[in-house]
Amino acid sequence: MAASTLQLEQSRYVLISEFAVSLAAATGLDALRRDVIPKLRYIIDINRCTLALCNRESSSYQLLTLLDRRPQRSWMREENAPLDDGIHGEVILSGEPRTFNNRLSGTANLTGAPELSSEEASLHSIMCLPLRVGGHVIGSVLFGNSQDAAYAQLDVHIASTIATHLSLAVDRWHAMEKLSTAKEEVQRLNAGLEQRISDRTADLRKEIDEHRRAEAALRESKERYRSLYTETPVMLHSSDQNGRIVSVSDYWLRTLGYERGEVIGQFPTGFLTDASRKHAEENCFPVFMGTGVIVEEPLQFRKKNGELVDVLLSAIAERDVNNEIVRSLAVSVDVTRRRQAEAAVQRYTSRLEALQEIDRAILAARSPQAIAQAALGRIRALLTFDRASVAVFDFDRKVGRIIALHLENQSGPSLGSNVPLETFWKIDTLRQGGVDMVEDALQLPDDSYGQSLRTEGLRSWINVPLRVQDELIGSLDLGSAGAGTFSSEDIDVIREVADSLAIAIQQANLHHQVQRQAAELEQRVAERTAELEAFSYSVSHDLRAPLRAIDGFSRILLEDHGDKLDVECNRLLNTVCSEAQNMGQLIDDLLAFSRLTRQEITLNDVSMSHVVQAVADQLGSGDPQRDIQLSVGALPSAWGDRAMIQQVYVNLLSNAIKFTRDKTPAVIEVGHRREHGQDVYYVKDNGVGFDMQHAEKLFGVFERLHTVDQFEGTGVGLAIVQSIVQRHGGRIWAEGVTGEGAAMYFTLRPGDSDQ
């Protein structure tokens, strides 16, 4: 027995040392519960183990259940209890262990035991030991068993050892906890510090970055400025205080065709034309020295190849502290194209003006010579040439006549001269509308054509056809003493002028022709009129004389010898006399009619009432035996020839009186009415009238509707009336009923339907 007990004791100590090792390895309560406490079972027979950790400041302890193997018990409870409560409190306050066996069976050493908590109420055997560190009680540990008398003296001793280890472990944990808190504080402080450091670092980095960026930007800007200066497509040049070029842009070089080496160190004025250099030195420099600025000065550079470049030059000066110019920058804008465009517009405008001038000449339709001369004058404003002429062609005579000439040198065909067609013009070319141009006469073959040009001292020459509707009528010729004077644009201009000129000349020719024809016609009319007058004169003179003789000698025969002739002879001779007189009347009427058609018409405002009154007075004194009732209505005045209109009323009223001879009373009405906006005048009577189917014949010369036996007359009266009315632009017509009367109507100006 003793050996086995010893062996058991020895194995328990081994277990206790293992427990102590694992306890030392445990880092806290969780590790204690998980790794250490379960090993206790092999050292002490326990159902339950609790740990109380004292908190003196609050006079309480924290109760932690480390192990509880009892059925339906939660062994993980943690709670706080006051120090004067329970067996843990008693042990902590007293610092003395308490051990109970058979507590419920009333064992003597358990009497007077404090009341156990409900958790421990079921434990029959209990060992509760204080945990001490350096003389201070820091808590207590309780081992309990549900069996009575479970722990012997050895168990108490072992429990005491375990409590010592636990005390050290708990103290260590406390220390570790404090250390950890301190560490955290340090870490926290460290963290704040690090943040500040990192912030500051970031700030610094940013500053550095910015500085670097600024540096880079500056560098880039310098680069850019340099490349801007050299590569920008603008003519730039800079000069030093002596005015010599120190730098130029590539564009400057490219535009003027120089290498940089040819330019640096030179004076800018050396690249200007003479005129521009003079202008720059006399006008620009003084201004620049004073103000330090030149703005858009128009100057002209000369390229290396001799071509000209128009620029607008602006410059600005850089001055030192003494206000001395140390450097200048000039910008030249190439406006050659703009100048060319402006010049083109100018030329175009002049061209239009020239053409308009020619058009005006067309309208004026003066002589071809005047038109051609005006055209040449206008072309001078557009083109340079030494000789210009306009020729019109006469293909029948095979010559061109120079109708206009502009001459700088006195040579070549003169104005008005006729030039052989084939010698001076390439007629076939011109006829097809082609331009004949010679750029350099010196290179022409030595034929008559080339010779004729050279003798005139002309090297370049252009002949432009004057054509009207594909018909060649002449040529516009320009010559110059220089070679290659005429550009293609010039040719366009000359062509346009030539086209207008051709039309103008043709127009003038036509005008001239029309005038000549009109003059011829007028001449013929005058001749015809003279013939007619001569004829009338003859009629009046030569026909009347025989009639007078017939009548006269018949009378003499009747007077001197009538008594010797029988009645029949007398009647026949009387008939001869009266017919001779009739014929005389016919001739008089015919002459009156003829005279009327030749007579000039003189228009005036004519009071028709006055005219009718005068005629009525003149005719009324005719036959006092007649009972004539003449009524004259209101008559508006008319625009016409008073004498002629009076003749109209004389004839109409005479007729009315004549044809009412058999009526008593004779009723004659003179009146007026408005019809279709026209004044219609009329004369009505209640005379013999006429059959309307003969109305057309009324107005013919010598037309009569009655025999001479019935009514005397020659049949000329109404013809005269119609002639007068028609010469006024008016119209005459008649209405009549046989036996009841007639009405004659007339107007004195064209009606709407007559125009």
Binding site: E533, H541, R544, A549, D551, G552, C577, A580
Partner: protein, 150 residues
């Protein structure tokens, strides 16, 4: 030498007209001293005492000239112009006696200073009446111009 005074110088190429005129004048006893010439040239010779009439006395100018316009050789208007543009003859009354009613003649005649212009009527009765009135007027009623003083 023909010194017989002439009352009327009749310038008329048409013999019929001349005869009718003379008859009409005679009818009224006005034709005692009528000189008939047949053309303008002779009329001028007579008036200016030239040619065939060179021996005529210029003192005895006709008291009246009856002038036809349509004349051979020298026209009536020319005769009129010569008479009226000469100081010696411009006072002689000249009456144009013509068949023509054409206006230019009338106007021309008056411009040249004709004293009357008469268109001969075709009808003989009218013609006679016309001539008699004319003759009476110029030879009887009218006071002749005073003879030029010498």
């Amino acid at each position: 030498m023909n010194v017989e005074p002439v009352d009327i110088l009749l310038v008329e190429d048409n013999p019929n007209d001349a005869e009718l005129t003379l008859r009409a004048l005679r009818h009224h006893k006005l034709a005692n001293n009528v000189k008939v010439v047949r053309d303008g040239a002779e009329a001028l010779d007579f008036v200016f005492c030239e040619g065939a009439h060179a021996d005529r006395s210029a003192d005895n100018n006709p008291r009246l000239v009856l002038l036809d316009l349509k004349l051979p050789k020298v026209g009536g208007l020319e005769v009129l112009r010569r008479i009226k543009s000469d100081e010696r003859t411009k006072v002689i009354p000249v009456v144009v006696l013509t068949s023509s009613k054409e206006e230019p003649d009338i106007a021309e005649s008056y411009k040249m200073g004709v004293n009357s212009y008469l268109v001969k009527p075709v009808g003989f009765d009218n013609f006679v009446a016309c001539l008699s009135k004319l003759g009476f007027y110029w030879l009887v009623y009218n006071e002749p111009p005073p003879l030029p003083s010498r």
